[in-house]
Symmetry: C2
Subunit: 454 residues, 2 copies
Amino acid sequence: MDKLVDRLGSVVGSVVVDPDVLEAHRQDAATFCTAGAPLVLVRPSTTAEVQEVVRAAGEYGVPIVTQGARTGLSGAANAIDGCILLSTARMNQVLEVSVEDQVAVVQPGVINADLSRAVLEQGLFYPPDPSSWEMSTVGGNIATNAGGLCCVKYGVTGDFVRGLEVVLASGEVIRTGRRTVKGVAGYDLTHVIVGSEGTLGIVTEATLALRPAPEAALTAAATFLSIEEGVAAAAAVMGSGLRPSLLEFIDGVTARAIQDYRDMGLPANVGSLLLAQSDRGPRAAEDVAAIAEICTAHGAVDVAVASDAEESAMLLEARRLVHFANEKLGTSLIDDVAVPRSQLVALLHGIDAISKQYDVLIACPGHIGDGNMHPTVIFDQADPAAQARALEAFGAVMDLGLSLGGTITGEHGVGKLKRQWLAQELGPVGLQLQRDVKAAFDPRGLLNPDKLFL
Amino acid sequence: MDKLVDRLGSVVGSVVVDPDVLEAHRQDAATFCTAGAPLVLVRPSTTAEVQEVVRAAGEYGVPIVTQGARTGLSGAANAIDGCILLSTARMNQVLEVSVEDQVAVVQPGVINADLSRAVLEQGLFYPPDPSSWEMSTVGGNIATNAGGLCCVKYGVTGDFVRGLEVVLASGEVIRTGRRTVKGVAGYDLTHVIVGSEGTLGIVTEATLALRPAPEAALTAAATFLSIEEGVAAAAAVMGSGLRPSLLEFIDGVTARAIQDYRDMGLPANVGSLLLAQSDRGPRAAEDVAAIAEICTAHGAVDVAVASDAEESAMLLEARRLVHFANEKLGTSLIDDVAVPRSQLVALLHGIDAISKQYDVLIACPGHIGDGNMHPTVIFDQADPAAQARALEAFGAVMDLGLSLGGTITGEHGVGKLKRQWLAQELGPVGLQLQRDVKAAFDPRGLLNPDKLFL
Ligand SMILES: Cc1cc2nc3c(=O)[nH]c(=O)nc-3n(C[C@H](O)[C@H](O)[C@H](O)COP(=O)(O)OP(=O)(O)OC[C@H]3O[C@@H](n4cnc5c(N)ncnc54)[C@H](O)[C@@H]3O)c2cc1C
Ligand SMILES: Cc1cc2nc3c(=O)[nH]c(=O)nc-3n(C[C@H](O)[C@H](O)[C@H](O)COP(=O)(O)OP(=O)(O)OC[C@H]3O[C@@H](n4cnc5c(N)ncnc54)[C@H](O)[C@@H]3O)c2cc1C
């Protein structure tokens, strides 16, 4: 293996074997996910360097784990024993922003927020906005098909990916997709690679669709005394044709945690909060007023409507505090089920029952407009029995999601964390076909081989 | 083969060997595309029947060509010698329309317009609207990833496909995707099957996304004396953030053909027409006025703005006559290139040069908002030399599209017609990967084997 490291040193500018650096790169942000000990970390700067790394790995039969910013929540970027960690950190250039074609061409290591700012300077908008946007890379967003707050109106990362340059397991390069808006020449391999968690190829360049930048959004925030009213109001908003640019749900457990974390004047008996935005410029005020009316009609005890950007940000503050407030309650294991919107009340009731059955606290904030919730199991990590119960509850939530016609993961991915549930969701024939597709791309299993499938 | 036909008769309700019926089913709507002589036509009514047909075909090693309404424009549904034609005509049920989840579940043989009407009754909207919507099937639309007039705002068929039930070449059934808005569990096989032209599996059920129905659209129509002004106005509309629900371009050749076909008051020196719609209800009038202003600023000599649905339909009349008017000029060979919007003028100039070089007439209407044009080579079929030149010009247009960073097909597909250009667009490595994916789905090549690839 020393020979492999030497070889890598001769083809890539940045090759690291320092144990502390390797240790720091072993894992992504998923809780309770094991990781192996990597052999070496490489940081190529060009597609050609990536190709050289892949060819060397192939010759030595050593697996490659591609890493963006390691903010993933499924262990998909976790090291495998003896692997090459391939970080895209040095491939961080925005190569082109075209106003005429409304596209950006980027290297994979560009940070989401950097891209958003670069295109905004040209009056354009790159919608995908995972909450990790200040940290996560566009390559990681593509490889996980990341969602975000504005998906409810604009869609997920994949909806903005037009074309990719990809280094295959053979070391060859392909270009999938196109720069044009439409195109149907051959199978859509672009969207097989989107969400493939580094298992089919290494994305070395992406052509992304942009839109004209909308004006700053206005916010409405509604407080309900029950879960059911908040869910019903959300359904009514989605059925109204209003197209909010954000529609977030905060459950009672989380709302109380937020109130404890910072006084936001929420009543002790808060059942749920609904936060909505419209970014339709001169029409936004009218939209949020209409949403406020819907919330009132559905029993909201308090409805606040912002009249400017500053007030909007204040009203959204609760959403920003979700993570920190719940962290104060204990260790959290964040799930990511999505269900058809008609099943949301059943999901929330079922989660309440699971919480009681396993004697753990479960908060349940989520992207309610898309039915994508983040049931968060909160427990005391110092108590092994509590931890065991938490893990069981985590699984029970996925079983529940599937039983309601949903999916085990709306946006975080399968990675290493949810491999055992993937078979349940896909069934044996579906799973085998997925393995066959993997084999078509990567017959020797060199790319992130212990992810997705057990 | 008699045995196979007997076997099919025992498992499917409708089995036809009548030569006239077979002859009538040999081809889709593509001009100049050869077709083989089918063995038999079957019309299954259920997924189980489709499975039986596929199993029988597998045992006898006979290829299957799936057919929707045969309105395709690439020969993708054309018969292969000795094949089983599998028509979805009897699988024409809308199985469910859910207002709460904003989804429809349909069998593949449902006609697009029937689905649109069924969901509209519930206040919902299924946007994909190919001009063939009164004839073509949802299954065919999915298998070609059909576009339409409203793509410019809403996207193509694939953007509305959430999940599929598919009978594989093995006779097994899989369900891909989901009913939920979001989901990232495993590779996105749904969107590999979308646009796969019956070569990867037979779609037997689809779960489709719907939206709240918009109000009737208003239309603006602008006349320019040059091509360049029309293209520049379209670019300005797309850059404005206005989001028209339709943006169609009619070139001078086509415009004059329309004027000859029916007096619409177009000047003899018309260079191009631009038709735009907005469906934003109470805001539509404001939108079309803004679009009209943009057109005037870009040199339009005449701009008409509709104030109600009836006037809107009248203004759109020119678009509806494109096909008929050009047909009057001669036999037409319709192409379907798409280019980045910044390359549209170069495309139109290049097409003009090709028209001169090959001494054929080329009309060039198109979905300009998406850069997807339909250069239409018009010639005298009675003249073999003219036909030969027309075919060469058809190829030259695709070469031109590729040279401008575009694609050989924006929405009609590769089928049998464009197989030789696919390799050019994808390159050898990309093409091989496509073949490997085909082999993962259909190792024996039973499903529509002579399509897509040469
Ligand atoms: C505070 C916080 C908030 C978050 N909010 C959201 C949210 O709102 N929505 C959401 O969807 N997720 C969210 N996430 C999860 C995470 O940020 C996303 O999954 C993100 O897309 C990961 O990007 P990354 O650059 O960190 O990728 P990594 O974690 O490094 O990698 C993720 C996967 O992508 C692969 N990969 C990375 N780059 C490439 C490449 N160039 N080619 C091929 N494969 C590659 C890796 O192998 C791995 O499988 C959040 C995470 C945190 C910590
Ligand atoms: C007048 C006219 C206007 C048109 N306008 C447009 C337009 O605006 N936009 C556009 O995109 N196209 C347009 N087309 C082309 C055509 O209508 C579309 O390609 C349409 O999607 C084909 O549907 P179909 O049911 O006729 O399918 P077919 O032509 O029967 O089949 C098309 C392909 O789909 C496959 N297929 C069909 N059903 C299934 C299934 N259930 N499972 C798997 N594979 C299947 C077939 O094998 C074949 O490969 C037009 C055609 C005409 C004649």
